[in-house]
């Protein structure tokens, strides 16, 4: 066990034993933060201290001091600025300490956002390389991952940013998005391990984000655009709420049923479980019992995933697979939380031509939004302001009943006459 921890932790153990006499510790006392070393959940403070004592990077000490100060005063002390790499206008989140006279070692603490592989897959070679480059130029702190899906390398000074980026870039990494442009995307594990993946979201993610890479590095739209790719309506990337463009795998035909496995499921868990935990929980009452056999009425199924989740061995998505596209998801700022709403009920997403058609659609949507949106207005807000009808006209899509939960309940519109 100890050997597996590697050299790094051996050094830590050494530094801990040395640290018994307080004056030899690299870090200053942080009694508030130390409270977060207690308890069973892994402590980020213990991690920071381990790293700081091993590397003795002054920035880490300064940042710990400033964080301890924040815990005492209950205020934050970072301000933004403009640090970037050659040719890019985004990707480095600039942080200067507002109280650098108090904590000069924390004067600069910029973050580099890095785009991981779709599905957040790693091999140890690429991750070790990333860690080595990061320790060489930066603080060694990493957040895995940010809410938009970036690897966040936290803590670098401006003078090291370009060289750090060059080495990362040579190793196959590129900066993530920031500001009013395309943002880093997120995918669930997809066909890599999940039986419910209805399209190759990892491939689509990579291709789409490569296509928009210029808009990601040089933001020039009204505001940000986020894409998330979920393999099925379980929506493990929370795309409907968290992204402007939610690409959710789905299917058109019937759920595939393995009769033997249904029987085995009922034998193991009982008929009550089938009724109470599957049939009664179907949101559209699409499932019934017919002489003890489970029947799914496909016309009533809305592809919610519940029965598939409850009976993973017996049920699987249909064979005619593709995606639903929802648009407009965002969180609370200004107008309140906005769930994305359905714009394209179904699109095939198998061939390269399918992906190209999707990219073309997205380009049209973004062009419309770029022309019609106001400053600092997410696409969902623009659609709400001008109306879904004008949006559909603008991007050339036909109205579809699946876009609404019901037709309008008021007569206040201009009909053709």
């Amino acid at each position: 066990m100890e050997s597996a921890k590697g050299a790094a932790s051996e050094e830590v153990n050494q530094s801990k034993s040395v640290g018994e006499s307080l004056d030899e510790q690299f870090l200053n006392p942080t009694p508030m933060l130390d409270e977060l070393e207690k308890g069973p959940w892994p402590s980020f403070i213990s991690g920071f201290k381990e790293l700081a004592e091993r590397t003795e990077k002054p920035m880490l000490r300064g940042v710990m001091d400033q964080l301890e100060y924040s815990y005492n005063t209950r205020m934050g002390y970072w301000k933004g600025g403009l640090v970037t790499v050659d040719g890019y206008g985004a990707g480095v989140i600039t942080r200067y300490s507002m109280i650098k006279e108090k904590f000069p070692e924390a004067a600069e603490f910029h973050t580099m956002r890095i785009q991981p592989a779709p599905g957040l897959h790693y091999n140890t070679k690429m991750m070790r390389e990333l860690c080595d480059i990061w320790e060489k130029y930066g603080s060694g702190l990493i957040a895995l991952h940010g809410q938009t899906g970036d690897i966040m390398l936290q803590g670098i000074e401006e003078k090291n940013v370009q060289q750090c980026f060059d080495e990362l870039n040579q190793a196959g990494w590129d900066l993530g998005g920031a500001g009013a442009g395309m943002r880093t995307a997120v995918s669930c594990i997809g066909p890599g391990r999940c039986e419910n993946a209805c399209y190759d979201n990892l491939k689509v993610h990579l291709k789409v984000l490569k296509h928009f890479v210029g808009a990601l590095h040089r933001p020039e739209w009204n505001y940000k655009i986020k894409l998330k790719f979920s393999g099925c309506p379980n929506d493990c990337t929370n795309s409907i709420m968290r992204s402007d463009l939610a690409v959710v795998g789905t299917w058109k035909d019937s759920i595939q049923v393995e009769e033997d496995e249904v029987k085995a499921w009922v034998e193991e868990r009982g008929l009550d479980a089938l009724v109470n935990q599957v049939i009664n929980l179907c949101p559209t009452r699409a499932i019934s019992l017919n002489n003890g056999e489970m029947l799914i009425e496909s016309r009533d199924c809305v592809r919610c995933m519940h029965c598939l989740n409850a009976m993973p061995k017996a049920l699987s998505p249909g064979k005619e697979r593709g995606i639903s596209l929802l648009m407009g998801g965002k969180n609370t700022l200004k107008v309140g939380v906005n769930m994305g709403s359905l714009i394209v009920p179904f699109m095939k997403m198998e061939s390269d031509e399918d992906i190209d058609a999707f990219i073309e659609l997205i380009e049209g949507v973004i062009d419309w939004w770029d022309d019609n949106g106001l400053d600092h207005e997410r696409i969902g807000e623009t659609i709400e302001r001008v109306g879904l009808k004008l949006f559909l006209e603008g991007i050339g899509l036909q109205a579809d009943i699946n876009m609404v939960s019901r037709p309008r309940d008021n007569p206040y519109f201009k009909a053709k006459y």
């Binding site: 597996a4 590697g6 790094a8 508030m32 409270e35 977060l36 308890g39 069973p40 959940w41 892994p42 980020f44 991690g47 920071f48 381990e50 790293l51 964080l67 815990y71 005063t73 209950r74 934050g76 301000k79 973050t111 592989a117 897959h121 790693y122 091999n123 140890t124 690429m126 991750m127 060694g140 990493i142 957040a143 895995l144 991952h145 809410q147 899906g149 936290q154 370009q162 870039n169 990494w173 590129d174 066909p191 890599g192 039986e195 990892l202 984000l209 890479v213 309506p233 379980n234 493990c236 990337t237 709420m241 519940h306 989740n309 993973p312 061995k313 969180n331 609370t332 700022l333 939380v337």
Partner: protein, 359 residues
């Protein structure tokens, strides 16, 4: 920043490639998985159409990691999962191996490293959260510390699968709520309008931009000591903090008056009910570092009542839909108050437009 000796020409490559990061068994069965089981908490068993099996061991992480910790994760992956691993969107690390005998060895090693194995099935998974005082430029608190405090109290429910359904948590350091909608969310709620620094404001703020940022048109231009500045109509202001992002001289954060609110019933999945947004069920809780006991206490009350009363597969919002809000407040011993009645856009859609009453 460019140096004269710079030789490397940037490749705008976008996301890192993924095929080289997939375990060979994953690559071989890509898109051909048949079903999965959860043999025990923290372990998944996926079976492919051809009978191939891959085991996943899942463990919680602090999210705010270091190169030291990540290198140890790499050591585990090299030893037990052929050098491959991945992360979930809730900051858990996963190791995929076709060798069943590696599962227990890996669990022991991860737990010995202090990384709890769990986060599967009907459990309380790790918190999706924001940056806070460590790095953000507008935070009222430190989400990482709040999260650590929460996860210490629900540690056993991360490592077990005894909840009615999965519980997703989030924590956010301001009302923008980057942590997201969740079954239970802990989100800062400012209670006091911004304090304006009139000396700084004309130097650092684009006035029309800050005016436009206000969703209730409470910000107006003014002149203070002969300098152009902004004023806030405090009767209109709802303390959202949107202006602070546009104008750092409109300080919304306050050590006493930036409070915590607790929200419940958010759901991102489409399973059964449609995705849903959260409702506020507690507020005015103090921002009390380093352990935020008032916040963890409320979360504990909600989780306890849900664990007791939820039926299989019911998420927290679905449980409340069945038992009603009245019973929710009774069973959690939280108090409904008039500020929890929506007064913003679409408020009417949250009123009870029926004679359905719970006594």
């Amino acid at each position: 920043m460019s140096t004269p000796e710079k030789k490397w020409k940037t490749v705008e490559s976008g996301p890192h490639t993924y095929e080289d990061a997939l375990h060979p068994v994953v690559l071989k069965n890509y898109g051909k998985w048949k079903y999965h089981e959860i043999p025990k908490p923290g372990v998944l068993k996926h079976v492919a159409e051809n009978g191939d099996v891959i085991y996943t061991v899942r463990a919680g992480t602090p999210r705010q990691d270091t190169v030291d910790m990540i290198r140890r994760v790499c050591d585990v992956a090299d030893k037990y999962s052929d050098g491959y691993f991945r992360f979930t969107v809730r900051n858990n690390v996963e190791f995929l191996t076709p060798n069943e005998e590696n599962v227990e060895l890996m669990i022991r090693e991860l737990e010995a490293m202090g990384l709890p194995v769990g986060g599967t099935g009907m459990c309380i998974s790790s918190v999706s959260h924001t940056q806070g005082w460590l790095h953000c430029d507008i935070p009222a608190t430190d989400a990482s510390g709040v999260v650590k405090s929460i996860m210490d109290t629900v540690y056993n429910d991360f490592r077990g699968m005894q909840m009615p359904n999965k519980v997703r948590l989030s924590t956010s350091c301001c009302s923008i709520n980057c942590g997201g909608q969740a079954d239970i969310a802990v989100v800062v709620k400012h209670t006091r309008p911004p304090r304006i620094n009139h000396d700084l404001l004309p130097l650092v703020c684009e006035l029309p931009k800050a005016v436009a940022r206000c969703p209730v048109a409470a910000i107006r231009p003014t002149v203070v000591n002969g300098k152009r500045s902004l004023m806030v109509d405090e009767a209109k202001c709802m303390c959202c903090g949107a202006c602070f992002g546009a104008c750092p001289a409109m300080e919304i954060n306050h050590p006493e008056h930036s409070k915590f609110a607790i929200w419940v019933g958010g759901k991102n999945s489409n399973a059964r009910s449609k995705p849903s947004t959260m409702s506020i069920v507690a507020h005015n809780l103090p921002n009390n570092p380093p352990r935020w006991p008032e916040v963890t206490e409320v979360i504990g009350k909600i989780l306890y009542a849900y664990k007791e009363g939820g039926q299989p597969w019911e998420r927290i919002g679905e449980w409340i839909n069945r038992i009603g809000w009245k019973r929710f407040f009774q069973e959690t011993s939280l108090t409904f108050d008039e500020d929890m009645i929506d007064s913003y856009r679409h408020a009417r859609t949250t009123f009870n437009q029926s004679a359905h009453v719970r006594f």
